[in-house]
């Protein structure tokens, strides 16, 4: 038991069916200090926090809080004890005032009657302490996102937080607001609040944090005083994995240029995007969530409006005003959320695969079912879709097979360009490698393939070339020889934060 620490989590193990999420992870926070919690996506950061917070229960390990061993049974207990998590997705009620949101569920009362005056006054006090211009009587819906985040933090403080967990808190803040937030953090530090700061942004970690804890594959791989280390130490602790060779890369020589983008801009999402993709090539797009990659591809596919820029296919400029046109130009788009945008869940595999081709396989007024069956058979074999029968509704398929059905659907269209957005999200290891193989195979056969991914091993494993993006801009183009973890890590934040879209 270390009394010097306000919070200490040791040797936390947490297993889910098939996956060991945490294997001896931990973190320690002194009162009045900020500890960064670092790690790649999937390293276990949010799982660790959920074990602290009571949403999950660790299989083994110990948690000490204020010198006592604790185990919060649910978030309410954690909250009551002063351990407060500020979610990444805002949990404010927009039609209520700031004061009400701050005191939601625990309004000050006179007997049974709510004391609005006191509530507003208390809220204003906290807001003033935070140097915020927000008033307690403002309606949350009238505030911009950055100020809404401020309200969330104010709420945590109003609830008497002793440990404040901030999950990517600056993701939607401007530079000025970030500075204001950091002022608040410094103020909270003086008051003895312990803060866990989860972030990918290396520059911020070095600016505001006192310690850094690094997780990798669920294990604790580093615990440093920030003053003792440099950036490289942190990166090393985060990514020192051995690369499994279960990635296949397309080995063909790249062919002619198939797709070129020049100066694409969509206000608020991305700016001045230029890139090109050749046939027989896999081009990766890497960056943090929110960098704008999906949005660019949506624009290429014609479902998002472009404010400026040109698109060239096979050297000729095209204007794509909708998905139908995009398909005609030979572009296929496997979206991020297959369940919502890629599949008709209750419908059968056969129907889903034939979906994109439906207008062409009619017999008179009706769909030609025999043709749909043919298409299904072709791709079922080619992609080894594991399904008891073509009539099986896709909703019952595993994630990997569902994804194969979606890809099969697009392949049935004979595309020239295939865009895949997070193609192996939520898919188990085995199916992942099958899909990676497929991607390499497709490229070798002549397709131009674009892969968007937030998983570094994946993007490095399948891509011949990688464009890195941050905050709506392309920050770099890495050729085959330049692809490395370090280069990727550096390029996903813009250190000169003046360059906002």
């Amino acid at each position: 038991m270390a009394d010097e620490y306000l919070l200490e989590m040791k040797d936390i193990v947490k297993t889910f069916p098939g996956v060991k999420a945490l294997d001896g992870a931990g973190i320690r926070v002194r009162a009045g200090e900020v500890v960064a919690l670092c790690g790649e996506n999937g390293a276990g950061k949010s799982t660790l926090m959920k074990c602290l917070y009571g949403s999950y229960h660790a299989d083994s390990g110990e948690i000490y809080y204020q010198g006592k061993k604790v185990s919060f049974r649910n978030p309410d207990e954690a909250k009551a004890a002063g351990v407060i998590l500020i979610f990444q997705e805002l949990s404010l009620i927009t039609d209520l005032t700031v004061a009400e949101n701050m005191f939601l569920g625990s309004q000050p009362k006179k007997g049974k009657t709510i004391d609005w005056k006191k509530m507003n006054a208390d809220a204003d006090r906290v807001l003033q302490d935070l140097n915020s211009t927000v008033k307690s009587t403002d309606y949350v819906r009238d505030l911009p996102i950055s100020q809404q985040q401020m309200v969330e933090i104010a709420r945590g403080i109003a609830l008497g937080a002793k440990i404040l967990i901030l999950d990517e808190p600056t993701s939607s803040l401007t530079e000025r607001e970030k500075n204001a937030l950091f002022d608040i953090i410094r103020k909270l530090k003086k008051e003895g609040v312990g803060i866990i700061y989860i972030s990918h942004k290396m520059d911020e970690i070095f600016e505001i944090c006192d310690e850094a804890v690094v997780l990798r594959d669920g294990k604790l791989t580093g615990q440093f005083r920030i003053s003792d280390i440099v950036l490289d130490d942190l990166i090393q602790a985060m990514i020192g994995r051995h690369m499994d060779n279960y990635f296949t890369k397309c080995t063909a020589k790249p062919g002619k240029e198939v797709l070129r983008a020049e100066g694409l801009t969509a206000h608020g999402y991305f700016r001045d995007i230029s890139f090109h993709v050749n046939a027989k090539e896999v081009v990766g797009f890497y960056g943090l969530v929110g960098a704008g990659r999906s949005e660019i591809m949506e624009a290429i596919f014609g479902v998002r409006h472009l404010d400026a820029g040109k698109i060239f296919i096979d050297g000729k400029e095209v204007k794509i005003s909708g998905s139908v046109e995009a398909v005609k130009h030979g572009i296929g788009f496997v979206t991020e959320n297959r369940k919502e945008q890629g599949l008709l869940l209750p419908k059968s595999c056969r129907e889903n695969i034939a979906l994109a081709k439906l207008p062409q396989i009619k017999k008179g007024l009706f769909v030609d079912d025999s043709q749909t069956k043919q298409i299904y058979d072709k791709y079922h074999d080619a992609m080894q879709i594991s399904s008891p029968s073509p009539e099986q509704p896709v909703v019952y398929l595993s994630g990997g097979n569902q994804q194969k059905v979606v890809i099969g659907k697009w392949l049935a269209m004979d595309p020239k360009i295939l865009i895949l957005d997070e193609p192996t999200r939520g898919i188990d290891i085995g199916a992942k490698s099958e899909i990676h193989n497929m991607i390499a195979h497709l490229a070798e056969q002549g397709l131009a393939v674009i892969v968007i991914s937030s998983e570094m091993p994946e993007i490095m494993g399948v891509s011949n070339r990688i464009y890195t993006m941050a905050q709506g801009r392309i920050t770099g183009e890495l050729g085959e020889a330049e692809i490395s973890e370090e280069n990727l890590m550096r390029n996903i934040v813009i250190t000169d934060s003046k360059q906002k879209v």
Binding site: D76, S91, R141
Partner: protein
């Protein structure tokens, strides 16, 4: 002055009501006669009381269809039981039935998680059956003179029922504004998961609101029986619930929940009442009245959508 304009642009139903009243006066100046205006209020007081109950449910993000036949059932009970257990007993039983329906609605929607439309529709059909079975498909006369006297009596220019409505409005306002339950209703209606995260018992909130609506709907039936001096099996059928919901929504409360207040329901019900009244005064065909009501609803909803879009755009700018 700026404050007034801002107030009116946020509470759009007020200028709409005023506008309709102006049109009404133009069509027939006798509309403005105080007797007529009080008349309109008196005529819509019972709808207003039911709209109070419905407001609680709508603010919570749901709605209640069972109102329309529950009315008839409680009216029949209030009349039919009078000779056997006296007025007080009969009214009490009727209100208990309303309570029961509210409880069933609340349990199924809040705790079992069935879609509110389906649940309240089922209850509506169930009540319809009982509303015909109990009175043997007949209408029942109220035997108690006190009962009828309450239903038709006046205190000043307003009926007793109207005064009851006013009291109801004040109580509802207090609950919605100054009690936890009221604020929880707004929270749960606005963002149920955020409310849960904040420790609010959303299920309990939903349950209580359905019970409130059930009781007030039942009360509506009792009051109609008092006013008419009798119950009829077809009372409220087929669309009383739609009219009540329309009244709530027309006033500015959002069907999606979390936004609105009890005074909106007063305005909305009066808008409908004024439209009906002017139809009577001008001797218009009945379908004209319903057409106008529908047209006004569309206009109000479209205007509201534009206004909220404008507000959202303004808010996002930063």
């Amino acid at each position: 002055m700026k404050k007034v304009t801002k107030f009116l642009s946020v509470n759009t139903s007020i200028p709409i009501l005023i506008g309709i009243m102006i049109i009404a006066t133009i069509l027939d100046v006798s509309f403005l006669a105080p007797g007529n205006l009080f008349n309109v209020f008196n005529q819509n007081a019972i709808k207003g009381i039911m709209a109070i109950g419905m407001s609680f449910v709508i603010l919570n993000g749901f709605f209640d269809m069972s109102l329309c036949t529950l009315l008839s059932l409680t009216a029949a009970l209030a009349c039919g039981l009078q000779p056997k257990i006296g007025v007080a007993g009969a009214v009490l039983v009727a209100l208990l039935v309303g309570l029961l329906v509210g409880i069933i609605n609340g349990l199924l929607v809040a705790y079992v998680g069935i879609n509110a439309f389906v649940v309240t529709l089922a209850l509506m059909l169930g009540c319809r059956g009982f509303a015909y079975i109990y009175p043997d498909e007949q209408s029942i006369s109220a035997t108690s003179d006190a009962f009828r006297a309450f239903g038709t009596g006046k205190l000043g220019p307003l009926t007793y029922i109207s005064w009851l409505y006013i009291i109801g409005l004040l109580i509802a306002h207090y609950v919605l504004r100054y009690t936890s339950h009221g604020r929880n209703t707004y929270a749960a209606g606005g963002n149920a998961s955020a409310a849960e995260n904040a420790g609010i018992n959303v299920r309990k909130t939903i349950f209580i609101n359905f019970v409130i609506c059930g009781v007030l709907s039942g009360l509506g039936g009792v009051l109609y029986a008092a006013q008419n001096g009798a119950s009829t099996p077809a009372l409220g059928w087929p669309d009383m619930h739609m009219l009540v919901i329309a009244g709530v929504v027309l006033g500015g409360t959002k069907l999606s929940g979390g936004y609105g207040n009890i005074w909106y329901s007063l305005i909305g019900v009066m808008i409908l009442g004024v439209v009906n009244n002017i139809m009577s005064i001008t001797n218009a065909q009945p379908w004209v009245s319903t057409f106008c009501t529908g047209a006004i609803m569309i206009a109000v909803l479209i205007a509201d959508k534009f206004l909220s879009d404008a507000r959202a755009r303004a808010g996002l700018k930063n």
